[in-house]
């Protein structure tokens, strides 16, 4: 494939059109009160941009708005407007026009006032449905991950059972069983924690000093952490008997059953299971040997974006959570037309998926009803207990105490209509999960602006889920009335793995990592750069982000400015840093070469073609997500076709030629300098000094949003400019706000983003504090807050 559409993954273009029409003389004299800039605007600009900047069909049909500062905009207008004769507008007039349009409609704040964005009624997103249902059922089971955090001890608890060998000097006792292993009572148990399950005992026992080798039974118990949502393939390898349970530990729900062996060869059996990120799932592996020549056992997995590997110690815990309800229904993708997935549209396919999920949940509840309701069939008060269960199920799902009307509707009517209380519970579950009160958590209802509403919003913001028991109790006790109270709850919740999972989702969104999934490189040009490399790079990036975000400083600037990478031996070898071992470690780099996320090879590789770098992809990403300037879709899609260019040109020369023509440069004057400054990185993110056998030229002049010119000669120049720059902050804040709240920040006040930016800058760009700030803004919107207790005194 030599041809590629430059704009495939990203769309961008100019925001001020270059018109061929001339503004004519003779505009009516303006009334005295009119802004002098408006007079100029109406005379020279309105013909193409409309009298209120709304645009004119067949001229410039986009709304005239953008991120440039007053100074930068004035310069720009003076230099380029009107398009056919820039001299027609004097520097003085340009300033007047700018002063007028900036306040009237150009600035984002002005736009927010003209079209105040409103909070939109939204259904739960896919992720929110999965998490809400999981936590809803979890409320009735509790255990690790619910009423206490999952323990930190890594690895699995191993129990080895077998026949004890005689101690030195002791006479051997004949323990040969008469009836096979079932009847043979093992008389020695060894317990220890194992970091990784990969044992090859050969003809020996797990402990050849203590245990007889002929037969033994082992059990490895604990849990696995799902760092990402998706399908996990588990695999067990052994020549002996084995069984593996994941999440559901009941005997009959074994995930992999390889109890009966088939000759001396090692068998591999595998099975996939869908897991939701930010949660820890029970895992149990049983293994037994009986008279086979040898014994071995290995436990593998493949995570959603990973490669097949022995399950690493850091992904396993010895703690054992209870079963979680996993909604693995396939949903149609959430609407992302606004730039981030949210629940503002519905469809038949969505309704069908919600129905399937509700049915699966109802089945799970009915199958596990005794456990969930704490009652037994035939117990005298079975009916009463089931009713109580139903009541608390609905209350948790709707995130508030039920009104009398709701009680009658959701519970009494169902118990009355159903033939048995069990069937009634099933109906209640189905009805609740299909009800608008569950599916649309932000149904605005002024009577309900209370602590429960606050709790509901907070849980949705931080966890994409329903309030947990503690938060619900705080709401019931009326303890979400002050900012301090709410902050304390939010603090607790931010430390939970569910918040971490949500933040991971944010970084996935902000860094546009989706494009990396399935991205491959030409193996002839980049031998050794395979799926495993991408998987390692992904881990390296996420571990770096995790370390920065969840450190005390939680400094956004470190994400951009760090002069180190996390590498393991595999990555180190490829990228030229000596590292030993499989664990990721910090590798110091030349600060002029590496600068935080924007030079992470995973990102650089994802923003590149299979054979070559792509300054445009890199430039567009940097412009929008890092520098924080807006780009509109291109006027026309242009295809980058390598074969059209002189084969001796560098990538920079090709792109320069491609975007040279008039219309392109209004956006590419921003995109190209940023993209070119990363030209020292090839398509897999390795440092290079030559492209196509010519020296790389990474130097450009970049005109900033506030009207200055910055010389960019590499990534360090970009991050130094951006890290303290309000425009970059705002881009980060907007992305985070979208991801956390799933609404426009301007719907929470026209100046909201600016306010948050000031707070962010004042807090040392602390990401956790920003997260807290956003969660509080979303939770307390429109709700009167009592003064904090300190202030009260």
């Amino acid at each position: 494939m030599s041809a590629r559409t430059v704009f495939t993954n990203s769309s961008f273009a100019i925001f001020l059109v270059l018109s061929v029409k001339t503004a004519l003389f003779g505009a009516a004299p303006a009334p005295e009160r009119e802004h002098p800039g408006k007079v100029v605007y109406l005379k020279l600009c309105a013909e193409c941009h409309g009298d209120r900047g709304q645009g004119v069909e067949d001229e410039y049909d986009e709304v005239l708005t953008g991120e440039k500062s007053v100074e930068a905009l004035a310069k720009y207008i003076d230099r380029t407007m009107p398009e056919d004769d820039p001299d027609k507008c004097s520097p003085e007039e340009s300033k007047l026009v700018t002063a007028y349009i900036y306040e009237a409609f150009y600035s984002p704040a002005a736009q927010a006032q003209i079209n105040p964005p409103q909070k939109e009624l939204s259904r739960l997103t896919i992720d929110q449905v999965r998490r809400s249902v999981m936590d809803l059922i979890g409320r009735f089971r509790m255990g690790p991950g619910f009423d206490r955090p999952v323990g930190n001890e890594q690895g699995l608890k191993a129990t080895y059972r077998g026949v004890e060998l005689p101690k030195p000097g002791e006479k051997a006792v004949d323990t040969t069983p008469k009836k096979g292993i079932q009847a043979k009572r093992p008389n020695k148990t060894i317990e220890r924690v194992e970091p990784v399950i990969a044992f090859h005992w050969g003809a020996d026992s797990p402990d050849k000093v203590v245990l007889e080798a002929e037969q033994f039974q082992n059990r490895f118990e604990g849990s696995v952490i799902a760092a990402e949502t998706g399908l996990y393939e588990f695999a067990v390898k052994s020549e002996n008997g084995f069984r593996l349970w994941v999440n559901d530990g009941s005997e009959s729900d074994v995930l992999i059953d390889g109890w009966v062996s088939n000759g001396p060869q090692v068998r591999e059996e595998k099975k996939s299971i869908f897991l939701v990120s930010g949660r820890t799932y029970m895992l149990r592996l049983e293994h037994f040997k009986f008279k086979e020549q040898t014994a071995s056992i290995e436990l593998w997995w493949r995570t959603p974006h990973g490669v097949k590997e022995l399950i690493p110690a850091h992904a396993m815990r010895t703690d054992r959570p209870r079963e979680l309800m996993i909604v693995n229904t396939e949903f149609p993708a959430d609407d992302s037309s606004g730039g981030y997935p949210r629940g503002t549209t519905i469809s038949k396919a969505w309704d069908q998926a919600v129905t399937d999920a509700a049915i699966a949940t109802a089945e799970h509840v009915v199958e596990n009803l005794d456990e969930l309701s704490g009652s037994k069939v035939g117990e005298p008060d079975r009916g009463g207990k089931l009713r109580k269960f139903a009541f608390s199920f609905v209350e948790s799902a709707l995130r508030r105490p039920l009104s009398d009307e709701q009680k009658a509707f959701f519970i009494e009517a169902q118990f009355k209509a159903a033939k048995s209380p069990e069937t009634a519970v099933k109906r209640v579950v189905l009805f609740t999960l299909k009800s608008p009160e569950f599916l649309y958590p932000n149904l605005r209802d002024d009577e309900k602006q209370d602590d429960f509403e606050v709790a509901s919003r907070l849980a949705l913001a931080l966890w994409d889920s329903i309030p947990d028991k503690k938060l619900a109790q705080a709401a019931t006790a009326g303890k979400l009335h002050t900012r301090d109270q709410l902050k304390a709850e939010a603090q607790r919740m931010i430390a939970d793995p569910r918040s971490k999972a949500k933040m991971q989702g944010f970084f996935h969104h902000w860094l546009e990592l989706e494009r990396a999934e399935g991205s491959t490189k030409d193996p002839k040009i980049f031998p050794g750069f395979d799926a495993e490399m991408m998987a390692d790079l992904r881990l390296s990036l996420f571990q770096f982000i995790d370390q920065v975000v969840w450190s005390e400083k939680s400094d956004y600037r470190e994400l951009l400015q760090a002069d180190y990478l996390l590498m393991n031996e595999h990555l180190g070898k490829y990228y030229g840093h000596p590292v030993t071992g499989n664990e990721f470690q910090r590798v110091g780099c030349d600060p002029m070469q590496r600068a935080g996320v924007i030079t992470h090879p995973f990102l650089l590789a994802s923003l590149a073609y299979t054979k070559q770098s792509s300054p445009i992809h890199r430039g567009v990403f940097l412009t929008r997500n890092i520098v924080g300037m807006s780009l509109k879709p291109p006027m026309k899609a242009v295809v980058f076709e390598d074969s059209h260019f002189n084969p001796k040109l560098t990538m920079r020369e090709k792109i320069t030629e491609l975007t040279r023509s008039g219309g392109c440069m209004s956006c590419h004057s921003m995109i190209n300098p940023l993209g070119f400054s990363l030209e020292n990185f090839d398509a897999v993110g390795r440092w290079r000094t030559k492209d196509n056998n010519k020296p790389v030229n990474p130097v450009s002049e970049f005109a900033t949003a506030d009207g200055k010119t910055v010389r960019l000669a590499g990534p360090r120049d970009i991050v130094n400019y951006v890290a303290e720059n309000p425009s970059g902050h705002r881009a980060f804040i907007r992305h985070l706000f979208h991801h956390i709240v799933k609404q426009e920040p301007t719907a929470y006040g026209a100046q909201r983003v600016d306010e948050m930016q000031r707070e962010f800058a004042a807090n040392g760009c602390n990401i956790q504090k920003l997260l807290m700030d956003i969660a509080l803004i979303a939770s307390l919107d429109g709700i009167p807050v009592e003064p904090d207790t300190k202030a009260k005194k």
């Binding site: 009966v260 869908f274 693995n328 129905t355 069937t423 109906r427 299909k434 009160e437």
Partner: protein, 439 residues
């Protein structure tokens, strides 16, 4: 059923398929009358051998009288074959119970493995397909006999473990098939979509009313989304109603107590429910082959409903002269005969869809066991009782063979049902002499 299988399962049922979510791709669900005769095979298993003296008739031929264990089957005397002298001669690894069970329908040696029994070498799963699955594949390979499931494997009180003692059906070598021993599991597999549909229908009105109630308080803008939601709910209701019109069952789903627990003492009720479900699924032509497995070989059911506290397997080891045990074993085996008779009775009471005769006329029932006798662990004279018709066998007889390999018996069954291209089954040398002549 809580991992991927559920999704696959729901998808197979058509639940998440587009426009007619509860009906797609299931023509035979309705049990529409089919023109040809529906031949069927059901194999019932009970464990731990029998009491030969109380089981086998003295006489040969049509004029025989029932010993006590088989008395419950007297009403079917004319439709019965009692086959004495059939032996499991497969041999190989594994103890008698293992080979008795896992070679019962597969007729070949067990694979090497790690499962150690009470004697012999450790062994693994069966190495061959089982005869029920062979017949299923035969039926499924022909358009006119193809059904939704082909075969259904039922169980009663089968313990939750998979080993050569608990499995008799195999899709192929090393591929054991687990029987469904929970009626709820069966209901879900057979009629899950209909049950889901019923539950949904019951709440959709409420969802509609709730939407109305909630949206009356909303602004016009927010209301638009809920109005659209309301349209979706109405659409689903319509789909369900349409599906209902097309999807009426010829034989309604038997009622199952939703709260019945899968415990030992409920075995008699569970047994009857499973038989009803088996008959019902065949009546609705979801399958042509069925198996019904009671417990497992070496099964330890405590039949307290017969006044017996001891586990079945322990009792079966007691010597013949221990009178108390002898009588208890008689009771146990008579109870199994009663369940077999109930199965035959239910089939005989259900008319064929064609209108001609009862289902029993076209269904061959085979009741068998993994052992001939519990306290000797013999694999000779394994109980084989057949009831029904449709195979061209001359029924109403007590037959005596001399250690005929059971491979040959299953060949007769296959040929009787029309699978005549099957020349040998299982271990080839044991098929010498070909199918036993039962016509």
């Amino acid at each position: 059923m809580k991992h991927l299988d559920r999704r696959q399962f729901l998808r197979n049922l058509g639940i998440s398929a587009g426009t007619l979510p509860f009906l797609s791709g299931l023509p035979s669900l309705t049990g529409a009358p089919a023109p040809q005769k529906r031949q069927r095979l059901i194999v019932m298993f009970s464990p731990n051998g029998t009491i030969p003296n109380e089981f086998w008739p003295e006489q040969e031929g049509a004029d025989f009288s029932f010993k006590s264990i088989l008395k419950p089957l007297e009403p079917f005397k004319k439709q019965m074959l009692i086959l004495h002298g059939i032996a499991n001669k497969v041999g190989g690894d594994g103890d008698s119970h293992m080979r008795g069970m896992s070679c019962l329908l597969t007729c070949d040696e067990l694979l090497k493995g790690n499962i150690m029994g009470g004697g012999g070498n450790p062994a693994g799963w069966a190495s061959n397909i089982s005869i029920d699955q062979e017949m299923k594949n035969f039926f499924q390979s022909r358009a006119e006999t193809k059904t939704r499931f082909g075969s259904l494997e039922f169980g009663v009180a089968v313990p939750d473990r998979a080993d050569p003692w608990t499995r008799m059906s195999y899709a192929g070598g090393n591929q054991p098939i687990a029987p469904m021993d929970d009626p709820h599991q069966v209901l879900k597999k057979l009629y899950g979509q209909m049950k889901d549909k019923e539950s949904l229908v019951s709440i959709l009105d409420d969802v509609g009313a709730d939407l109305k109630r909630v949206s009356s308080k909303l602004s016009a803008r927010d209301k638009a989304l809920l109005d659209q939601h309301m349209t979706l709910v109405r659409g689903l209701e319509q789909d369900l109603a349409d599906a209902d019109k097309q999807g009426a069952l010829a034989h309604p789903v038997p009622k199952v107590d939703p709260s019945i627990e899968m415990v030992n003492d409920n075995t008699p009720q569970i047994s009857r429910i499973q038989i009803d479900l088996l008959v019902n699924s065949l009546a609705n032509d979801m399958a042509r082959v069925g198996t019904l497995q009671y417990m497992r070989s070496v099964g330890m059911a405590q039949m307290r409903w017969l006044g017996i506290e001891e586990g079945h397997h322990s009792l079966s080891h007691d010597p013949d002269d221990k009178k108390e045990s002898y009588e208890k074993l008689m009771k146990i085996n008579t109870w199994f005969a009663g369940e077999f008779a109930y199965l035959a009775k239910r089939l005989s009471e259900t008319p064929e869809a064609s209108g001609e005769g009862s289902m029993l006329d076209n269904t061959l029932l085979v009741w068998t066991n993994e052992l001939g006798k519990g306290n000797t662990h013999t694999l000779d004279n394994i109980p084989y009782v057949m009831v029904g018709g449709g195979c061209g066998f001359k029924m109403g007889r007590s037959l005596k063979f001399d250690k005929a390999a059971h491979n040959r018996l299953w060949l007769s069954v296959a040929h009787g049902i029309g699978h005549t291209s099957l020349k040998t089954f299982g271990k080839t040398e044991l098929c010498e002499g070909g199918a036993l002549v039962l016509a």
